[in-house]
């Protein structure tokens, strides 16, 4: 049964390869391939979760025992992420039928497969390959919107992410030269002796910057506002909601398993703080909805980086809470931006035109700011208690910035909310106020319902997350699972 876990990773690739051929003969059959594969992936992963297979387990691809072969490592966290990838792939599926449907849907399938790979893979170079596949599929999907600005933002993103991949590759080369292995569990065994030095730190920093491009880490996040402003809303939602979190997952695994130097954590803390400051201030200044959301997501990811600088179970709990909270909210907000994407000023009185959308927006805003009893409060509260418990002054700066950022967030979100519920401008008839498209609004409502459900069942959700965080924080468990589960040992 557990062998089937490879299918959600492989079937989308299979579908993507075949899609152009099938579409050539029959578009109506081809249009069902992608959703069917993703639904099947959801079912397999959900079944894995429900059937109570002992987690975590490790699966050797090709039957070669790690560290020689590549293995997939499936713990609750990886399973959760993989499920989210398949589900969001289904929710953001590009249904539109036109001349380029085959290519667009194939790229979407590739993006889903690669993201699943990022969630599951337990090998450093394999992660790099999937990371690049995510990048290329993303470029295609952004450029697919076809405007000149989309091409320009894609090439700027491509160049930045090219720098990132050179740095990542350099880091991998350094690690391999030093240790002679790429398997994360094997590296975790060797790290205390071999990577606890300057070389290890350099390797971590290069990989951090490289992977940080997708995670919107402070100096390498300039692509985010322009890409989110030009790409289709569902693509932005997938990128900001999920792909950035998967890049974070790589950094989380590296921190927990391999790099324990205090300097590594400090660098990340500083970059996270800078990200929060720049992101939130820029969001406050932004004049259009999409870029406001983009900058706000930079700020939010900065907060998660601050939380990630506490690599213990408590810190990880805060990371997971913030991560899944942001995943729900930002995806939903970007779906609202499909239609509301223009200048903020244009949205005067939009609540009258589309009361549901405005209500959902207010719900998301309140949770983002951290209003009890919504889940956002709980996520932020976890981080605050964790930060306050740290002794180093740097964490206190982090705490201060975090609280200030919340104030700024409240300022720009409420400014927009006030516009929505304010009177419409006198010369604009109510029909011309933009409103989100029906399907996008429905998707956003789904995220809103998810958020409310999480608020109702906050205790079980919290217990689940702390269980997941405990599993993810346990490096010994990882090592033992990988080397015991497949018989091979070092």
């Amino acid at each position: 049964m557990s062998d089937l876990i490879v299918l959600p990773l492989v079937l989308p690739l299979f579908g993507a390869f075949l899609l152009p051929i099938v579409m050539r003969t029959s578009i109506s059959i081809g249009a069902w391939i992608g959703p069917a594969i993703l639904a099947y992936g959801c079912w397999i992963l959900g079944d894995q979760w429900m059937s109570g297979t002992a987690l975590p387990f490790s699966l050797a691809i090709g039957g070669f025992a790690p560290p020689m072969g590549i293995n997939l490592y499936i713990d609750s966290l990886a399973l959760l992420f993989a499920f989210a990838v398949q589900l969001l792939g289904l929710l953001f599926w590009p249904f539109k039928i036109d001349q380029e449907t085959a290519r667009r849907q194939a790229l979407m399938l590739l993006l889903v497969a690669a993201s699943t790979g990022l969630a599951l893979s337990g090998d450093l170079f394999n992660l790099y390959v999937f990371y690049e596949l995510v990048a290329v599929a993303t470029f295609g999907l952004i450029a697919a919107s076809g405007s000149s600005a989309a091409y320009a933002s894609t090439i700027r993103y491509l160049i930045l992410s090219g720098i990132g991949s050179v740095l990542t590759l350099l880091g991998i080369a350094l690690i391999y030269s030093q240790t002679g292995t790429l398997n994360l569990a094997h590296l975790a065994q060797l790290a205390p002796e071999q990577l606890n030095n300057k070389l290890g730190l350099t390797a971590f920093l290069t990989i951090l910057i490289g992977v940080g491009v997708k995670a919107e880490l402070f100096p390498v996040n300039t692509w985010a506002p322009e890409v989110y402003a030009t790409a289709a809303s569902r693509v932005s939602a997938f990128l900001a909601g999920l792909v950035s979190k998967l890049a974070l997952l790589i950094i989380l695994r590296l921190l927990v398993l391999i790099f324990h130097q205090p300097e590594a954590v400090q660098v990340m803390l500083v970059l996270g703080i800078l990200g929060v400051i720049t992101g939130e201030l820029a969001a406050w200044r932004a004049k259009d909805v999409r870029r406001m959301l983009a900058f706000s997501s930079i700020g939010q990811l900065g907060m998660i980086f601050i939380a990630l600088a506490i690599p213990e179970q408590g810190g990880l709990l805060a990371v997971l809470a913030l991560t899944f909270h942001h995943l729900l909210i930002k995806s939903g907000l970007f779906m609202l931006a499909d239609g509301w994407g223009g200048a903020i000023e244009k949205l005067r009185g939009a609540a009258k035109r589309s009361p549901l959308a405005a209500a959902i927006f207010v719900l998301f805003s309140l949770s983002l700011i951290g209003m009890p009893p919504l889940p956002g409060f709980w996520a932020k509260f976890t981080l605050i208690t964790q930060l306050a418990a740290q002794t180093s002054p740097l964490y206190l700066i982090g705490l201060t910035v975090f609280l200030l950022a919340t104030v700024i967030e409240a300022a720009y979100l409420f400014r927009l909310a006030a516009l929505l519920y304010g009177p419409a401008a006198e010369d604009t008839p109510i029909d011309t106020i933009p409103k989100p498209a029906g399907l996008s609004l429905a998707t956003a409502s789904l995220f809103g319902i998810g958020l409310l459900a999480a608020a109702l069942f906050i205790t079980p959700v919290g217990d689940l997350l702390s269980h997941v965080a405990g599993q993810a924080a346990n490096a010994d468990l990882y090592i033992n699972t990988v080397f015991a589960g497949t018989g091979g040992s070092q």
Binding site: S148, V166, G180, A343
Partner: protein, 159 residues
């Protein structure tokens, strides 16, 4: 204290030098196509670094020629990884070039700051907001320098 110039030093200097040259090139170039080329150089450096990770003195290529005893062989894993990395690089470069072709056709230029400016203008335009002043252009109105004839001609071709 001149360090001894060894093969090792030369090889590492080449690999890391290529990476530095490439990264400097990306930052310094004003032309998007040159930025892509600089990226190719940096990638070559990273790939060389990866190959060096598996090098062994006095060892042969990892291919069995005789059964039984064989001389020491270099590490096969980095070679496989470099093969992968090179192919990935080729794919991304081809995509980059095709996007550049379209940008050149639409905007009539590949100058980095001009493309950025037009992109900002277009984003602001679609959103329906008055333009932000970009970082690279000074405040206040200033007449734009006239374009050279050849550019105008090409721009005449689009849209």
């Amino acid at each position: 204290m001149m360090p001894e110039i060894s093969l090792e030093l030369i090889l590492y200097t080449t690999a890391l030098g290529l990476i530095s040259i490439g990264l400097a090139g990306v930052v310094l170039s004003r032309h998007l196509f040159r930025m892509v080329l600089a990226l190719v150089i940096a990638e070559a450096g990273a790939n060389l670094m990866l190959v060096l990770a598996g090098y062994r003195w006095d060892a042969v290529a990892p291919i069995l020629t005789t059964l039984g005893e064989h001389p020491p062989m270099v590490d096969p894993v980095p070679q496989a990884m470099v093969l992968t990395a090179i192919v990935i690089g080729v794919g991304i470069q081809a995509l980059a070039v095709s996007i550049l072709i379209r940008i050149r056709q639409r905007y009539g230029t590949l100058d980095r700051s001009q493309v950025a400016e037009r992109m900002d203008a277009e984003i602001a335009d679609t959103a329906g907001i008055p333009r932000d002043v970009s970082q690279e252009s000074p405040l206040g109105e200033r007449p734009l320098p006239s374009l050279p004839d050849s550019t105008v001609e090409i721009r005449g071709g689009h849209s």
